[in-house]
């Protein structure tokens, strides 16, 4: 058949079927978590959290999130409010802060198992036990927010367009 336009589809990393995609091997399982609420916050973070999700804890790099809702600090004046389901909040300026619902902007991957620390050590070069106020870190060359929900279970949020790349990277270890 005459090729009238170059098919660049094959050029890109194939997108996994996220509803079924799993990486399972000795000591590590990875899956995508769908349906969380995610909201970028900037400005007066304390005021924002008090107004949008009173009482939630702030977490940084490799911190343990112990509740369903939490505020992932990414910078001095920014962070990501994570909730079990999307929140219907109008985007824009509030009293001293900006709230931007972005439920689909980041893909959330969960990595779990006894091989977690080893995998994360390969992907990053930060001293996880030393901690960091910001959960934003270079992971396999892309910026993610990285923290834990249990001692051997980590979550990372990566910009959705990078999710296929990161999945492939994890799958090929």
């Amino acid at each position: 058949m005459l090729e009238t336009m170059r098919d660049r589809g094959k050029f890109w990393t194939p997108v996994p079927d996220w509803t079924t995609a799993r990486i399972e091997r000795d000591g590590l399982s990875v899956r995508r978590i769908a349906g969380l609420g995610q909201m970028l916050i900037s400005g007066d973070l304390r005021g924002a959290v008090a107004g949008l999700a009173p009482g939630v804890s702030e977490i940084g790099l490799w911190s343990l999130a112990e509740a369903d809702s939490y505020f992932v600090r990414s910078a001095r004046d920014r962070g990501l409010l994570v909730t079990p389901a999307p929140q219907h909040v109008a985007p824009g300026w509030r009293e001293g802060y900006v709230a931007t619902p972005c439920d689909d902007a980041y893909a959330v991957l969960e990595l779990a198992g006894s091989g977690l620390a080893e995998m994360v050590a390969e992907a990053t070069s930060v001293d996880l036990e030393a901690g960091s106020r910001s959960a934003a870190v270079l992971f396999a060359g892309v910026t993610v927010f990285l923290y834990r929900t249990a001692p051997s279970t980590a979550r990372l949020h990566v910009e959705s367009p990078m999710a296929s790349y990161l999945w492939k990277w994890l799958d090929e270890r």
Partner: protein, 88 residues
Amino acid sequence: MQLFSCPFCGPRDETEFLFAAEAGKTRPEPAADVSAERWSEYLYLGGNPRGATREIWQHLTCGEFFAMERDTVTHVVSVSHSLRGEEA
């Protein structure tokens, strides 16, 4: 591999950082009165000292700009600190 220290995040790998400028550069004003030579000097010329220097760097994962004092020969970083409320 070298660790740099972001004033907010703490020690991170050098690959998370980007050099921005030598510290102490002041934008010439008003723009209408600034000669092309002065603009060129401001934009493109640096002191590039051998030894101790003070520079502005950005920590890319959190976005923060900060001042870093280091040695261009030994690569030893003596201190990095926040620019909040200070002149660069």
